[in-house]
Every structure is written in structure tokens, then in C-alpha cells.
């Protein structure tokens, strides 16, 4: 496999996220970067990936990248289409989903996620779309992968609103709350990959993308970023991966 160096930071983020998926995992997919990454994985190394969209399409195999979670192509290619209450009650809640893919407007050092509001809830600076399926995806999937561009606006010391619980206040907080999934296992950004510390659950930089320095990552993080002593380097995307990705996104 030949690698290339001519790609955007969004592209390596998406390819890295796709690598997190494998085999016949059941993957709860949101629109945007998560959907792109999951569809890329299904078209490259994980053809049996089983994608579920919250509109009720189980095992969707879209030929083109859907623009919304309710595109007709999802229904046409799905193993079955179920009512929305069953998505949450029969599939997500009992822990049948291996991986949940989430985005974030803000994320903190324990991977708690805000997609609700910037500023004060009653008098917001920016009103965001809100929770959608995220709180229960974060709670009930066996693990959660967050895909988000890294910046000080996004990676904040404390999120303005906890829409979806990551690791709470760290340590055993998540389990103490009674949440059954393991929570965010990876945060994949345009700069690198962060994973929670096994004990404290604080997000730790474990991998950086080619051409990115630890200082770049620190500069884009609103708290004193922990860095793994075994910091890895993300492999370059292959030409095939980039070709498939660009065919998907039309870029």
C-alpha cells in the first residue's frame, strides 16, 4: 500500500476514525464526520460493519454518503427499518451496540460532551442543536468514539453544559452513576488521538498525526494536556483510503 502526504487534517482524522472500526461491529452512526468515517471503514477494511442510524435503519449499506440520518438510501439498503422507539429501547438501551460515534461542540478533560449551548443556558451566547440521541449513545454503547476538531474553543477546561457524560469527574465516577457502557475510549481529532488514562480517566494524548507537534496539540487544548510517554505517530493514510474517502465526500 502506498501512502501519500497530500491530504487535509480532516482527511487524516476521518481515516484514523475509520481504523477504529473493525469486523462486524455494530456501530451507531451520526451524520457528518462519524457517518463519513463509518462508511469509509465499510468500504475498505471493515466490509461487515453493521451501521445503525437513529432514524431506524438497521444494517444500512448506503451507496452514497447520506446527507441526513433519515435519507431514503438508508431505508432502501437496510436489513430492516424499525420504528424510532425500538432503536432506543430494543437496540441501544440493552447494550447491543458495540460503538457509538459522537461529535462535540465542547469536550472537557474527562471527555464530557456539550452539544447544547455555549454560555449560560437561560441566556445563551450560541444555541446549539441539543442532545438528540447522544446522551443515551454515550451511556449505553459498549464504547464511544468522539470525533472532533481540536481547538481551545472546543477543548475546554469545563463544558458549559454536560449533554453527554464521558467519564464524569474522572476515576470511577461513570460507573458510580450506573452507566453501563465503558464510555469514550478514544477522542480522534485533526491533530491526533486522545485516550482516557486507565485510572484517572483524564484524556491523554497517545498519538499525533504526521507533521503535528505535541506543542501544537497543547496549544489547541484548553487545559494542561497530559501526554503519554509512549506517544505514537499516526500512519499516513493510504492512497486507496484517500481515494475511497474522496469518492465518498465528492472532494
Amino acid at each position: 500500500m502506498s501512502t501519500v502526504t497530500d491530504y487535509t487534517s480532516d482527511e487524516i482524522m476521518t481515516v484514523t476514525a475509520a481504523h477504529a472500526l473493525s469486523g462486524a461491529m455494530a456501530c451507531f452512526v451520526g451524520i457528518g464526520l462519524p457517518s463519513t468515517a463509518a462508511n469509509l471503514a465499510r468500504r475498505t477494511h471493515a466490509p461487515d460493519l453493521w451501521m445503525i442510524y437513529e432514524s431506524g435503519t438497521l444494517g444500512a449499506k448506503p451507496g452514497t454518503l447520506p446527507l441526513s440520518i433519515g435519507d431514503g438510501v438508508l431505508a432502501e439498503t437496510a436489513d430492516t427499518v424499525i420504528p424510532v422507539p425500538e432503536v432506543f429501547n430494543y437496540w441501544l438501551q440493552p447494550g447491543r451496540i458495540d460503538v457509538g460515534f459522537l461529535g462535540a461542540a465542547q469536550i472537557d478533560r474527562y471527555a464530557n460532551i456539550n452539544t447544547t449551548v455555549i454560555g449560560d443556558y437561560g441566556d445563551p451566547k450560541v444555541r446549539l442543536p441539543g442532545a438528540g440521541g447522544a446522551p443515551e449513545i454515550a451511556a449505553s454503547c459498549r464504547e464511544v468514539i468522539v470525533i472532533v476538531r481540536q481547538s481551545r474553543r472546543t477543548f475546554v477546561e469545563s463544558v458549559d453544559f454536560v449533554t453527554s457524560v464521558g467519564h464524569g469527574k474522572g476515576g470511577t465516577d461513570r460507573a458510580d452513576l450506573g452507566l453501563r457502557g465503558a464510555g469514550p475510549s478514544r477522542v480522534i481529532t485533526d491533530l491526533g488521538v486522545l485516550e482516557p488514562d486507565p485510572v484517572t480517566r483524564e484524556l491523554t494524548l497517545v498519538q499525533i498525526h504526521p507533521g503535528v507537534s505535541v506543542d501544537d496539540a497543547r496549544a489547541a487544548t484548553g487545559w494542561d494536556l497530559a501526554v503519554s510517554p509512549d506517544l505514537g505517530r499516526t500512519p499516513e493514510p493510504t492512497a486507496e483510503e484517500l481515494a475511497v474517502l474522496r469518492a465518498l465526500t465528492g472532494k
Binding site: 440520518i69 432506543f88 438528540g132 443515551e136 454536560v162
Partner: protein, 275 residues
């Protein structure tokens, strides 16, 4: 049973009502929403899991006093600017919000459809929704002692949906992604279904959901009534219209012009079967 759209809205939607126009990307009852604007309804409590462009329009037109929802946005495009203007600036009227998760809203409809006052679920735990949304509670399992989340039933005064077909007796047929529409209709005191066409016989189809006429208050034939969303088997989603909404809705004046031409203008109303 079979009515015109303007008659259906006039008879079924009253000022101050709790109204759910449901749809999940697919089959969104857009024309019915525009007719509500044309008829000048006020003080509505609007309910929907995924308020999108038509809710932005209803809010911008001043129909709503409150929004109960779990995700508000222009899918694939971005934010709802009329919604933002209402909650950030109280324009044109202040908008109260009550915010849930999708799982919570879906379960609230299920409880409403089931004649129960509440639903039990795993959800919301540890989130800030709990402290900002008053009607999230806990309930203890009488067998295991485990604490779970409870949400109250949703029983709209009227639910409005769009479907592909109805027969002349008012039985409704929809297929493709059917979202939470069945539960939203079953939970409502009254219901209005706009359809692409009224037929003599409903030919059975894979994936169909049938709403028997006895749970449907009225049916109106409104071809294209879900545009710019889509109707599986009839027409595709007009993604350009969703993108075009963004600049229109960013500005109060351009929104006012859009209202005047596309909703109140004769062509829009005629196209949509309104007055």
C-alpha cells in the same frame, strides 16, 4: 374524515394547543405547518423530536410560545436561525423551551400512546438536562431496587403527520422511514394526516405502517405536502432548499419577505392546498 388542508387546520388546531408535527427527515408535514402560519395560530406549544426548517418557520412567524424537543437544527446544514433569534432575543415573541433526549422523547410518545402517565428508561443520568428540564424524574424498580429514569407521557392536543396514502375511509399507509409517527398519532387527542394521494384500496407494501382510520381524525390530500423533505416512492429530498433556508433565515427582513411570497403569497397557498 376527508377534508381540505385549510379546513383540517381550522377545525383541529386551536390557539394555545400542544401540537406535534412529526417526521424524521422523511415525510415532514411542511404544507400543514405553512397552513398553520397562514391561519395565524398563536401560543402553540410545538412538540417534535427533530424540529427543523418548518419549525423554524413557525417560530419565526410567531405561532409558538414553547418548544418541546430533543434536537433542533437544519439537517446537514447547520443551525435554525429563527429558533436562535427567538430564544436568544425573544423575537418575534419569547420562546420557552423544554429539552429532552431522543430516547426520552420517543418514550414519552410511547407512554402517551399506551395510556400510561409515564415511561421508564435508562437515560439522562449525569447530564445537565436533569437540572434544566423539570419533568425528568427517577423511579425505583420494585423488584431489584435499581433506580431508573422516568419521563412523563406526551399527549399532544393534535398530532399532524404526512403519509404517502390513505383510502377513502381514512386508513393511512406510510412506508420507508416512519420514525415516531405512529406513536405520536396514537398519543394525540386529535390527528390530521396529509397524504400524497387518496386511493380506493391500500395495496400492501413491505415496511408499511398502517394507521387505522379510527385513530385518525382527518385526512387531507396534499400532493407534495412534505416538500422540501421527501416522500419515499414519490419524490426526493430537495437538499438545495435546506441550504437555501440558511441565508433566508439568518435575517429578519429576508425571512419576512420569504413569508410574504412563499407562504402568504397566492402561489404558495394554492400549491399547498391552503386558503
Amino acid at each position: 374524515m376527508i377534508v381540505s388542508l385549510d379546513e383540517g387546520i381550522r377545525e383541529l388546531v386551536r390557539d394555545g394547543d400542544t401540537v406535534a408535527l412529526e417526521g424524521f427527515t422523511h415525510l415532514i408535514p411542511v404544507s400543514a405547518g405553512h397552513e398553520i402560519i397562514r391561519q395565524g395560530r398563536r401560543d402553540l406549544t410545538l412538540v417534535r423530536m427533530t424540529p427543523d426548517v418548518v419549525y423554524d418557520q413557525l417560530i419565526g412567524a410567531g405561532c409558538a410560545r414553547k418548544l418541546v424537543f430533543s434536537w433542533g437544527g437544519n439537517p446537514g446544514v447547520g443551525s435554525l436561525h429563527r429558533f436562535r433569534d427567538a430564544i436568544q432575543n425573544g423575537w418575534p415573541v419569547p420562546l420557552e423551551i423544554e429539552e429532552h433526549s431522543h430516547a426520552g422523547m420517543a418514550n414519552r410518545y410511547v407512554a402517551g400512546a399506551s395510556g400510561l402517565p409515564f415511561a421508564v428508561m435508562r437515560g439522562y443520568t449525569g447530564t445537565d438536562l436533569v437540572s434544566h428540564t423539570p419533568n425528568i424524574a427517577t423511579v425505583e424498580c420494585p423488584f431489584t431496587g435499581e433506580r431508573l429514569t422516568a419521563v412523563p407521557a406526551l399527549n399532544p392536543d393534535v398530532t399532524i403527520i404526512h403519509a404517502q396514502r390513505a383510502d377513502r375511509r381514512g386508513n393511512v399507509q406510510m412506508w420507508g422511514i416512519t420514525g415516531v409517527q405512529k406513536e405520536a398519532v396514537l398519543a394525540a387527542r386529535r390527528s390530521l394526516v396529509t397524504v400524497e394521494e387518496i386511493v380506493d384500496e391500500l395495496e400492501p407494501l413491505p415496511g408499511q405502517v398502517i394507521l387505522p382510520s379510527r385513530v385518525v381524525t382527518a385526512v387531507a390530500e396534499v400532493p407534495g405536502g412534505a416538500r422540501p423533505s421527501y416522500a419515499h416512492g414519490y419524490y426526493e429530498r430537495d437538499n438545495g432548499a435546506y441550504q437555501a433556508w440558511d441565508p433566508i433565515s439568518r435575517d429578519r427582513d429576508s425571512f419576512a419577505r420569504w413569508l410574504e411570497t412563499d407562504v402568504f403569497g397566492g402561489a404558495g397557498a394554492a400549491r399547498e392546498g391552503g386558503r
